[in-house]
Symmetry: C2
Subunit: 351 residues, 2 copies
Amino acid sequence: MSYAGKKVLVTGGLGFIGSNLAIRLAEEGAEVVIVDSSVAGCGANLHNIAPVRDRVRLIPAAVCEMGSLGEALARTEVIFNLAGEISHTHSMEFPERDLQINAVAQLQFLLACRQYARGRRIVYAGTRQVYGAPEYLPVDESHPVNPIDFNGVHKAAATTYHLLMSRSGDLDAVVLRLTNVYGPRMALNIPCQGFLSNFLRRLLLGQTVEIYGDGNQLRDPMFVDDAVEAFLRAGEAQPLPARIYNVGGPEALSLAEVASLAVAAAGAPGPVYRPFPEHQKAIDIGSYYTDWTRIQRELGWVPQMRFAEGIRRTIEYYRRELPHYLASAADPTCDLPEHIGFRRRLRYHAL
Amino acid sequence: MSYAGKKVLVTGGLGFIGSNLAIRLAEEGAEVVIVDSSVAGCGANLHNIAPVRDRVRLIPAAVCEMGSLGEALARTEVIFNLAGEISHTHSMEFPERDLQINAVAQLQFLLACRQYARGRRIVYAGTRQVYGAPEYLPVDESHPVNPIDFNGVHKAAATTYHLLMSRSGDLDAVVLRLTNVYGPRMALNIPCQGFLSNFLRRLLLGQTVEIYGDGNQLRDPMFVDDAVEAFLRAGEAQPLPARIYNVGGPEALSLAEVASLAVAAAGAPGPVYRPFPEHQKAIDIGSYYTDWTRIQRELGWVPQMRFAEGIRRTIEYYRRELPHYLASAADPTCDLPEHIGFRRRLRYHAL
């Protein structure tokens, strides 16, 4: 790795993956600038960057507030673009909010990057969700893009923005299409962040883990350190062999197996099975696991952490840090800012 | 056809295809409401609906101005949704404008439709451009969606909005993916509306038709009456066999053949060949022609008009009506409204 002394910018750097990435970059000796507007519901938590708080610069701005970002962008050598809303379920209830955060703000950000950081490498946090329900398994990068929820539509649009601006030479983008990522610093106090966040919240609250349906759907959970490693490699690869990489975990596990391993790691009872809620069924994609052979072949990346060990470390982290993940949920509801088009109140789980 | 007495709404009804559709619907005896905000650069022309002006209701509003539309939507039985920006080239220069018109406004419109016209049939004017550069020919509906310009990204997003809201039962949508459409009422005074508009403008101005490159790329131009017929069938099909239909012309012709036929129909000299401009080359998709066997099989639609005859009728129309298509270009530049995010001046061809 050669990030020592490098000037990097991390959007969404107070969020789950972004903060883990920012910490690793700071530890490698990079000059880290974090841009994060702490949009309610997107997982930002100032405590996430506690280990490096005195070593990183934080710009509390939305990625589309170009005025605040020009000077920082101009100095940046590599941009890690992780700002966004990840919840598929929220996007179905608040599609305009998702459009604003994941497409409008992203386009504005990329236009600012073109202006202030023309030609620079940018690594975008894409998602497997753009593929929709897999036509075959494991899913490689040739799989058709066919999103089945608004979040997938807008993440697909932003992905293509990155690619179009790379074709024109305005930017030098890499898109990582991430599977379900878990690990320390996930938001636990926001509903609808996926089954892993949900399992963890229930375990840490002493509640029984619930599985919707039969739990036979396959997933390949990826530990956040593995995701971070993929970002680092994508940020420095020269020459860049491809612009899209699927990034996933080392094992295809059923949701029932994931739940059992998590429950065992926590020493908790369960899980129990519940009928699939209708609004979840509509956007369920069935089984998914990643063909990550392209990034293995071209960037030498392989996922290292098996789920049993990764979930053990995750639970250990939260048992130590839980108050910091309760604090931000002190108010069980939260008014989201008008300017991002999220006018209705979003109910939070009271931890 | 059974549109007599039916209450229909046509967005973009002052534009090229929209006005031809509105005229046909009015002639069939439908109660037609046109919604069109005459966004500069999108082809609206009040003269387009001259034949039925006293028989249709015109709401001069953007599709996202829900306040103006609720009452009209609530009465509507079938919605024909043709509002939008079609220029691929403009979208590369003004991506935020294209995003606003083709995705943001469309999402807002569909949310209004859900509220006021829940479950109603809506036929959306999609585009072949969402497929990008074809992987095979002719292009059927299974071809991957892989847009290579911002217009394609946003039209793909709006297409998926229609499909998602149909999955949830909020709407009953059909998407027609149209190839290059030509015929009476095309805007001739707006640059970058595609090669057919360009050929026609030059022919009518007595200028020589120009072809970029060797002119060997294939296209399947579709006469607007054929497009209108596809909309009518998609608007009334019960039950609806599929939600996406590719709609194209009866012949695959090279651009050189298209130019020669147009030139012959106009009795003009030419064409001449020019080098491909760089900014056009970047978003050129190579050859394209449509596999329209799905709509033939399921809705009984077949394109009727061969290009030689269609272009003859088109030229005849413009020779008669040309002043009305010059008038709107009296001012060679045009300030586009702030609220659609198009702040720069768009230069118009002075006819």
